[in-house]
Amino acid sequence: MLPLLRHARYVLSENPVTAFAFGLFAMFLLAAILGPLIAPFDPLATNTSLALKPPSAAHWFGTDQLGRDIFSRVLVATRIDLTIAFASVILAFLLGAVSGVAAGYFGGWSDRIVGRLADTIMAFPLFVLAMGIVAALGNTVTNIVIATAIINFPLYARVARAEANIRRDVGFVEAARLSGNGEARVLFGHILPNIMPIMMVQMSLTMGYAILNAAGLSFIGLGVRPPAPEWGIMVAEGANFIQSGEWWIALFPGATLMLAVFCFNLLGDGLRDIIDPRKRT
């Protein structure tokens, strides 16, 4: 662990972009935790006399068609957007890691089932499948999380499968098996921890995509429902005012969303450099 930390510090000092991404990430995390506490206005409070006002000293990002403060709404929305993304990535990781490791380790029919499942999911354009799943399961935030996890599942399963397959016959696994550990213990005690770093990289690489996906679904009216503040919905609401020139309603949530995705993509690349220096680009 210590060499890894030292390596991380080296990479960060060598690569200011990754350091910047870490800073940005901390900011988003802070906004997600403290958002509702530090927002200057109630994100749901309407005030029609203030409707559609451009950015000002009082309302940094302006106000929307109902006179709500966009800055407060963008800030408060951080929590829900990040929660959806985190939850779906963690769920995808759990599903993918367990089934992928089992497939790679045992081979045979478990490998075929997991492989077929992953192939079937990959046979769909992913966003379209997510739409179908949310439409079928019902239009809720939980189902957005599930849908996003399902479409990300094949990536995790494949990485986990490949890694477990390589490690199946490696010395320390062999040793653990010979010393009388059950298959399950070998699997979860010895193989899974060893593929964690690479799975972590995978998670940070798919975070950005998960946020985009969730925001896209809510943009077309799935998942989070108005008046709850969420970046995708806010852009959708702002879309109606673009043609009349009220740009700020869509711009600020859209730009924040973009920044968040950008941050996670940079972070993913940076994390890959730290954990897997060979794959540096």
Binding site: P125, A135, F262
Partner: protein, 337 residues
């Protein structure tokens, strides 16, 4: 050659079966009463019961599945509640609009990404390499619906050089005679300059928004694959033989480097077909994506199901074409099968 294509076709069969099973399951997963869902929000109990009978939901799951597959084989995707039209007709009428948008986006995207990636690799470390890096990282971070809106604001509202971001053609221009359903092709075939120019102008913004989104994976893959090919032994041989730089870069390096790029097209299509839905929503583009979104809002399920199935079959077909093209470019694959 034909045998090779047939064997590729065979590999797509499990995917198609999987897709049919999943779309079937999606309908049966509906929480609560699927019949109520299909009947819509304002349905009376009698209407629901009628629908249940009509959909065969009172039968066992295997029986229902057989009915479903039978319907699919006879080209029946159900009927839309909001329009009363058969889903299959509506999708068929709207498909050319979506296909035209997606293909133009792909052509724009590949037309920029591939030269950019090649140049970035050939001139590694130069400004164009850095540009490529920025574009690839920023490109994947752009929510396509947001870029679309931004374009509409800048080019339509501010600069007023783009037409109103609604639909495939200005309402004052009559669409070209229907031949393929692709406005660009149809207007070119009939020599209808006004319709050609008009539809090109309408296409510009949504296609660019989609192109920017799909640019990143293509440019990234082109650059990486070009770099690794340029470092390979046979390029050294080609240089040691004094071959002209153009021959080395294009005939030797690029033709090899393009192979993984072709494979990446599969992922790019997944991106594009998804982005298609969002862009059609932003630009009121009368394609199948917008059709599905409108149906989703009104809980009109049959069109959504038909849409998911169509997209999946389309995607499988595209992947099949990619496979065949790959086989044409790479002689090593031909013998393997």
């Amino acid at each position: 050659m034909l045998g090779q294509i047939l064997s590729r076709l065979a590999t797509a069969v499990p995917s198609v079966i999987g897709v049919v099973i999943v779309t079937f399951m999606l309908t049966r997963l509906l929480p609560g009463d699927p019949a109520a869902y299909f009947a819509g929000l304002a349905a009376t109990p009698q209407a629901i019961a009628e629908i249940r009978g009509k959909l065969g939901l009172d039968k066992s799951l295997p029986e229902q599945f057989i009915v479903y597959v039978g319907d699919l084989l006879s080209g029946n995707l159900g009927t839309s509640l909001s329009t009363g039209q058969p889903v299959v007709t509506e999708i068929a009428t709207r498909l050319p609009a979506s296909a035209e948008l997606t293909l133009v986006a792909l052509i724009v995207s590949a037309g920029i990404a591939i030269p950019l990636g090649v140049l970035a690799a050939v001139k590694q470390g130069s400004w164009i390499d850095h540009l490529c890096r920025v574009v690839t990282t920023a490109g994947v971070s752009l929510p396509v619906f947001f870029t679309g809106l931004l374009f509409a604001y800048v080019f339509y509202y501010l600069l007023q050089i783009a037409p109103a971001p609604t639909g495939r053609l200005d309402i004052f221009v009559s669409p070209p005679t229907h031949i393929t359903g692709f406005y660009l092709i149809d207007s070119a075939l009939t020599g209808n300059g006004e319709a050609f120019w008009g539809s090109l102008r309408q296409l510009a913004l949504p296609a660019s928004a989609m192109a920017i989104f799909s640019l990143a994976p293509l440019a990234r893959m082109t650059r990486g694959s070009m770099l690794s090919v340029l470092g390979s032994d046979f390029i050294r041989t080609a240089r040691a033989s004094g071959l002209a730089p153009r021959t080395v870069v294009f005939t030797y390096a690029f033709r090899n480097a393009v192979l993984p790029v072709i494979t990446t097209l599969g992922m790019v299509f997944s991106f594009l077909l998804g982005a298609n839905v969002l862009v059609e929503t932003v630009f009121a583009w009368p394609g199948i994506g917008l059709y599905a979104v409108n149906a989703l809002i009104t809980s009109d399920y049959a069109p959504v199901q038909g849409f998911v199935l169509t997209m999946a079959v389309l995607y499988i077909t595209l992947n099949l074409i990619i496979d065949v093209v790959y086989g044409l470019v790479d002689p090593r694959v031909r013998l393997d099968t």
